[in-house]
């Protein structure tokens, strides 16, 4: 049900009518137009800036649904991923912004929060409440501008648009043949990968090892956090003591390197996410860890040689701990430098977007919902949506690795260091010590409360 708002009863009756219509088919919704939904306030047209991606199509169709249901106009400005950040930066730094709703990537939303470019939704409309079923994704939707941390005590800055985290993709057909079951612990993953490792036609697991904007480090986070390790001690309390080179970190990296060397692709050090996904699509990989948004090409006969053979599971973890994927998600925040009526228009869109009905519709259109209710819907039982259950199991444990804007410098250190370790140039312990040292240097440079652990 839509969150109770000031427009109370009228809203509810509108929704029950909509349920009937949804049952009759999407076309009926369109045909009825905007007459019935007087509850959704008529607001100024808004412009959303977003990037082109596999899930964009579903987002676009969801927006069309919003336009049909409410009669509000939305303009979509679609950009290439390389350059999305620059475009958003240019707009928010100008005196008058070009874009109203910014779809921010996990890589730059911190910059937007810290820089004061995004206005808190609660400041624009104090009555707005986040639907309790919406995933808060590591609490990254909140921000306390005074303490500069992301906790639920802060203001609500954005609404999740795409909860993208990596999942484990594995070859269900090979598993059936060999009588294996989905791995939960790292030990199980390694055992299964060994059984299915038959080079050069098929590798047990194909990992990212290349140095990029967020490449090898992203593949590594589930191993690090799944072992109970972490880069910083306690970000929520603004304690940035570097803990990368603790025992859990060592276990994680040694495991990662062992997989690459013994059951992995011989050129792991040069593989990026596209290469890894390519390996799965062409049938060369028995396991990969990849962002959930890559599920759609797997079953597309034009793009895949393993149609209907891929299964999904949460990324594994150490025995006794939980899965912990790193967030690479998308949040929708409202720009500060735009007129008030457009801010309100953006709030209206977010208010609609987060509801269960909108999210289920979005899932049916091929999107990845942000509302847990959508994952409880019957469509999650369908073969086509077999990734929904593992994703729903993983999302509550997803980790927000960085909550500060200078994160890209830390990521650059990790990328280089991990890449060199995977390439065999450095062993695990020295690599971790060196990276921890450099990260500590960066945090100190920017004046964060930080410290170091003794070297491994």
């Amino acid at each position: 049900m839509r969150e109770s708002s000031i427009t109370g009863r009228v809203t509810r009756s509108g929704i029950s009518r909509r349920r009937v219509l949804a049952g009759a088919g999407a076309a009926a919704i369109g045909a009825l137009g905007n007459v019935r939904f007087a509850a959704a306030a008529k607001v100024a047209p808004i412009t959303i800036v977003i990037n082109q991606s596999p899930w964009f199509e579903s987002f676009r169709k969801t927006v069309e649904l919003y336009e049909k249901e409410t009669g509000n106009k939305v303009e979509l400005d679609v950009n290439p991923f390389a350059g999305s950040l620059e475009k958003q930066r240019n707009s928010v730094r100008a005196a008058k912004g070009q874009y109203d709703l910014l779809i921010m990537n996990g890589g730059w939303f911190a910059e937007m929060y810290f820089g004061g470019f995004v206005e808190a939704i609660s400041d624009i409309d104090p009555s707005f409440k986040l639907d309790p079923d919406v995933y808060t994704l590591g609490d990254t939707v909140f921000f306390d501008p005074v303490k500069k941390v992301m906790t639920p005590q802060g203001k609500l800055m954005s609404v999740p648009i795409g909860p993208l985290i990596p999942l484990l993709y594995y070859r269900g057909d090979l598993y059936k043949e060999a009588g294996l079951k989905a791995p939960e612990t790292f030990a199980e993953l390694e055992a299964n990968a060994r059984k299915l490792h038959k080079p050069p036609g098929r590798y047990g697991i194909v990992q990212r090892g290349a140095r990029g904007p967020a490449t090898v480090s992203f593949d590594f986070y589930p191993y690090l956090y799944g072992n109970g390790g972490g880069i910083f001690k306690n970000q929520a309390a603004a304690d940035y003591t570097v803990t990368l080179n603790n025992e859990a970190g060592r276990t994680a990296l040694e495991y990662y390197l062992r997989l690459a060397k013994e059951v992995g692709h011989p050129q792991t050090a040069s593989l990026d996410q596209a290469d890894v996904i390519q390996n799965m699509l062409t049938g060369k990989a028995a396991h990969i860890s990849a962002v959930i948004a890559a599920w759609s090409p797997m079953d597309d006969p034009d793009k895949s040689a393993v149609v209907d053979k891929v299964e999904f599971a949460p990324t594994p973890h150490a025995a006794g701990l939980t899965t912990a994927s790193g967030l690479g998600h998308w949040l929708g925040g409202i720009a500060r430098n735009i007129p008030d009526d457009r801010k309100r228009g953006a709030v209206e869109f977010l208010r609609w977007f987060q509801t269960k009905d909108a999210q289920i519709a979005s899932a049916k259109l091929g999107g990845i919902p942000v509302n847990a209710a959508a994952y409880r819907d019957p469509i999650s039982q369908e073969r086509k949506f077999r990734w929904m259950k593992p994703l729903a199991d993983s999302l509550p444990h997803a980790v927000n690795v960085y909550q500060f804007p200078e994160a890209s410098e830390v990521i650059a250190i990790l990328e280089l260091g991990l890449n060199q370790a995977v390439a065999g140039n450095t062993a695990a312990a020295p690599a971790l010590n060196s990276m921890a040292d450099q990260i500590h240097g960066v945090m100190a440079k920017y004046g964060y409360a930080t410290g170091k652990l003794p070297p491994l």
Partner: protein, 325 residues
């Protein structure tokens, strides 16, 4: 008309000297003015370019220069400029990526630019000597530069792919082991250089072609009468006359080589390790990804300064080479 081989050493870079060292006409300078409306036409022909450069190039450059002495941070949607003197420049010295980038960029510049100039010149020379299939050859040799940079990067990434790339398939046919072109330290930079040569040789080819076709034929005829061989023709007639074109092509290729970005970004992302880290890529990471405006500005200034030095060095080397002639 004059058939004395013009002393092309008079054409230098930047346009330091206008005169060709030929018998000078009575007017003295190498100009064709002399009419009463000259001052008008001087300005009319020059001012559009002047205006465009003034309006659109001065401000950004000056702004960048000034920014390099500040640190820019944003809060509450507003920028704060903190003056830091030469701190940004000091930090350049300690930047690990920059040091790797410097070496790689120099190697890249020398081999890529050298390769393109050489192949472009040879191909242009050969193309001038054929009649059959001229249009076809020329069109083919110019094709790579028509392909957008992003596509060049993406396509060569596929072609050089370890598992499925065409290159490995072809060398497999001859019996070689597949090589990890883009992922092995030894071959990564060479592969990037190769792709760049493939992409940009047409630039040199086209300019040399235009240059060669513009050369006065009478000099060659005189040379043939004197019994010059192909090599002598090349050394004493073609190269000296082509020197201005060669120098300008070289200068622009060098400057652009320092800006190379698309290929590195798409092919290797600066890896493996830092073996393909080039200056412009480091700049991209520091200036844009990490949003360090002041530091990035200082890095830009440094790169510009470096290229200027290289150009001046190339210029004086050229002067020394052509002086005895």
């Amino acid at each position: 008309m004059s058939s004395a081989a013009p002393d092309a050493s008079a054409q230098t870079l930047p346009a330091a000297n206008l005169r060709r060292a030929r018998p000078k006409p009575a007017g003295g300078a190498d100009v064709s003015s002399g009419g009463p409306d000259d001052w008008l036409w001087r300005w009319v022909t020059f001012s559009p370019a002047l205006l465009m450069m003034l309006l659109l190039s001065v401000l950004p450059l000056v702004n960048l220069f000034l920014t390099s002495f500040y640190n820019v941070t944003w809060t509450g949607g507003q920028p704060t400029w903190t003056p830091v003197g030469v701190d940004n420049y000091n930090e350049l010295v300690h930047d690990e990526l920059l040091r790797a980038g410097l070496f790689n960029t120099l190697v890249f510049a020398i081999f890529a630019v050298g390769g393109q100039m050489l192949f472009g010149f040879v191909l242009a020379l050969l193309c001038c000597r054929v009649t059959r299939g001229r249009i076809l050859y020329r069109t083919i040799f110019i094709l790579p530069i028509l392909v957008p940079g992003i596509v060049v990067g993406a396509i060569w990434k596929l072609l050089l792919n370890f598992d499925f790339g065409l290159v490995n398939q072809l060398i497999g046919l001859i019996g070689f082991e597949p090589m990890n072109w883009l992922g092995a330290k030894a071959t990564a930079l060479a592969s990037v250089i190769f792709v760049d040569v493939w992409h940009w040789t047409p630039f040199c080819f086209l300019l040399f072609l235009a240059g060669l076709e513009s050369l006065p034929q009478d000099v060659y005829e005189a040379g043939k009468i004197d019994g010059a061989t192909i090599w002598q023709e090349l050394r004493y007639i073609t190269l000296p006359m082509m020197l201005p074109t060669i120098m300008v092509t070289f200068a622009f290729r060098l400057v652009t080589a320092f800006k190379v970005f698309d290929e590195v970004y798409l092919l290797t992302g600066g890896g493996p390790g830092t073996s393909t880290e080039v200056l412009s890529f480091t700049l991209y990471q520091r200036f844009f990804r990490q949003d360090r405006t002041g530091y990035g500005a200082s890095m830009s200034m440094f790169i510009i300064f470096l290229v200027c030095i290289l150009l001046v060095m190339a210029l004086s080397a050229r002067k020394r080479v052509s002086a005895p002639a």
